[in-house]
Amino acid sequence: MSSTVTYRTCPRSGLQFEGQAEKLMIANAFVAVVFLLIGGILAIGVALTRWPAVHWLAADTFYQVLTAHGIDMLIFWIIFFEVAVLYFCSSTLLRCRIATPKIAWLAFALMLIGAVTNNVAVLQGSSSVMMTSYVPMMAAPSFYLGLILFAVGALVACFVFFGTLVIAKRDKTYQGSVPLVTFGAITAAIIAVFTITSGAIILIPTFLMSVGIVKEVDALAYRTIWWAFGHSSQQINVAAHISIWYAVAAIAFGAKPMSERVSRGAFLLYILFLQLASAHHLLADPGVSTAWKVVNTSYFMYFAVLASMIHGLTIPGAIEVAQRKKGLTKGLFEWLRKAPWGNPVFAGMFISLIGFGFLGGISGVMMGTEQLNMIIHNTIYVPGHFHATVVVGTTLSFMALTYFLLPVLFRREMINPGLAKLQPYLFGLSMYFFCLVMMGAGTLGVSRRNWDMAMAGATLPYEWPGAAYLMMGLVGIAGIAAIAGGAIYIYITVGSLLWGKKLDSGAVSPRFTPIPPTAPTAVVQGYGSAGFAAPGTFALAMVFLAAFVLYYFINWKYLSQVWGLS
């Protein structure tokens, strides 16, 4: 397929990059950051309008900006970056060439054309239908067409990733099993195939409806299938950013997984059960049976939640074990106190992990509990939750990984490392606060996707309590702080590409260097116990569990006080 295949070995990391794969990673990651920039500018409009004292934009502009912000951030920024991550986890980590680079470029072109088409449709003003675009509310045909083109491109990229795995296996670039991080990326890609197919199943008839070929798409069928796309696309993120956490632990500490069996088993649970989570968007819907809701929303008995709780322990656990080996053994937490907090790669990853667990994870289970959903559904608690998962979890992880990739993949010295040190704290912690006050306002009932909480012009207006106004004011302030954090990230990454000192590419060779086989251990131990290696992490896990249990029952108490429903 490709004409010339060259490999270079990065002198700073020892990673081997194949020429075509490298260009594809750079292109996808760069376009991702452009969409993050667009989404970030739009976020200013959203934050300053929902801040009641400012209430900046007019209603039509607000809904238009909110639609574009959601799609650019949740879909375009994240999936472009994920494609770069998939190519990195296959071609770079397995040290092989990328499969069918021309088709990979085609995928990139389809995604880019689709993303631009969709953005133009929203910009033209007749497609302010929110990211979810629930029928029978209709957008312009080009809105759906853009999403479909993008989805097809992303699907092709997944198959390029699978093809690359086959090449690595065939060329014997590694021995034994794929690395854990690649395994996580495979999980993400498998989920992506399911997700994108669901998107196609529902968006194609909706597109045909918008051009008048199909008469009607059922509103409830749309919601059911759309969420198999909409929520599952967030599950791709989970699998991807958890892989990145493992990668950062390995890069920053040389940490090895506490147990390959446990970590891979947890990824396997994601493949089996994570998809079911999309059902929790239908908990407040008519026409869906109770048993269906209970089984699906618990991701079948919470096995996917179990998997996340496992990753949440094993990643810091692996770091703790590595740090203790280096002699940081004093007390429960010396390993954590003396971690490289000034390194944005580590700091970003750790702030992401804690926020994803405590804020995103716990609130996600609340919303996904069939009855508790009734006090949360469509309130601003929902964006509070998903900003904790997608922004603190995914976006911040991607930012942390970027700081590692700047010298390694982009071969540039980072400009202003002092500012980069600060960035994960400003962005991550203001996002923590943003999510908390949003959930607070949601608990008071404040609606999401609402231009004016004062309800000016309503015949029978409702006056929200003063606390709700206070919370929404804090949402605005925290949102602006987080946007400033995001702007610093873009300044550092784009600035480094433009003005950063060029770094040595390393030796180029027409042949790959296979991953050297590690010395096999003489005796393979059977199943059994290996000690109590990470007591500090275990203590942190207990704090997490206590917070989880407490908050869970507080919500049930709250539910028990509302009107009787049966």
Partner: protein
């Protein structure tokens, strides 16, 4: 062995499990089961469960039923728009229309009594968000959702639309009185 390299032990699945991991998996599993059975248990012992009772409907059909109820049980009208306030008897069927951009009619209920509340939308998706008690139910066009409600507080309540439904979405507010 590192997470970005292939496992050094070919038989990695035979690697022993650390007690930290083993204990956490056991604890997390128990907690997951508690949460699962809490949902099931609340259906048996709890008082707030969303009914799955649903019928297919059409805007005209539903509007006719709502009009019949309004004709029968209207006690007064409110605001300049003369929105009817209906006071249906205990246990009866109460129809609430969601449409761009209003909830119709105003409903008056009695504390501690149960009613069968029928919800549907005449056009787009809408959201039934009862404030300040904070109960949120999706309202989907084409589907008539029957929810049995039992108010446990008296006072004035508002139905805020919390599913985005177009430019005047933020003005779509209805009212429920509980005596």
């Amino acid at each position: 062995m590192s997470a970005i390299l292939p496992p050094s032990e070919r038989l990695w699945w035979k690697h022993p499990l650390d007690k930290v991991e083993g204990a956490w998996i056991a604890i997390a599993f128990v907690w997951c089961m508690v949460m699962f059975f809490m949902m099931v248990g609340w259906h048996i012992y709890g008082k707030q469960n969303l009914s799955p009772e649903t019928y297919r409907t059409k805007p005209e059909m539903f509007a006719a039923k709502a009009q019949a109820m309004v004709d029968k049980y209207t006690v007064r009208t409110e605001t300049n728009d003369k929105i009817p306030v209906v006071h249906p008897p205990e246990g009866s069927d109460v129809y609430l229309i969601a449409r761009l951009w209003s909830w119709w009619p105003i409903i008056e209920l009695e504390k501690g009594k149960s009613y069968r509340l029928h919800l549907t939308s005449m056009d787009y998706n809408h959201g039934f968000s009862l404030q300040p008690t904070n109960i949120n139910i999706q309202v989907v066009p084409g589907y008539e959702h029957v929810v049995k409600v039992t108010p446990n507080q008296s006072g004035q309540f508002s139905v805020v639309c919390n599913e985005y439904c177009g430019i005047n979405h933020s003005t779509m507010v209805g009212r429920v009185y509980v005596k």
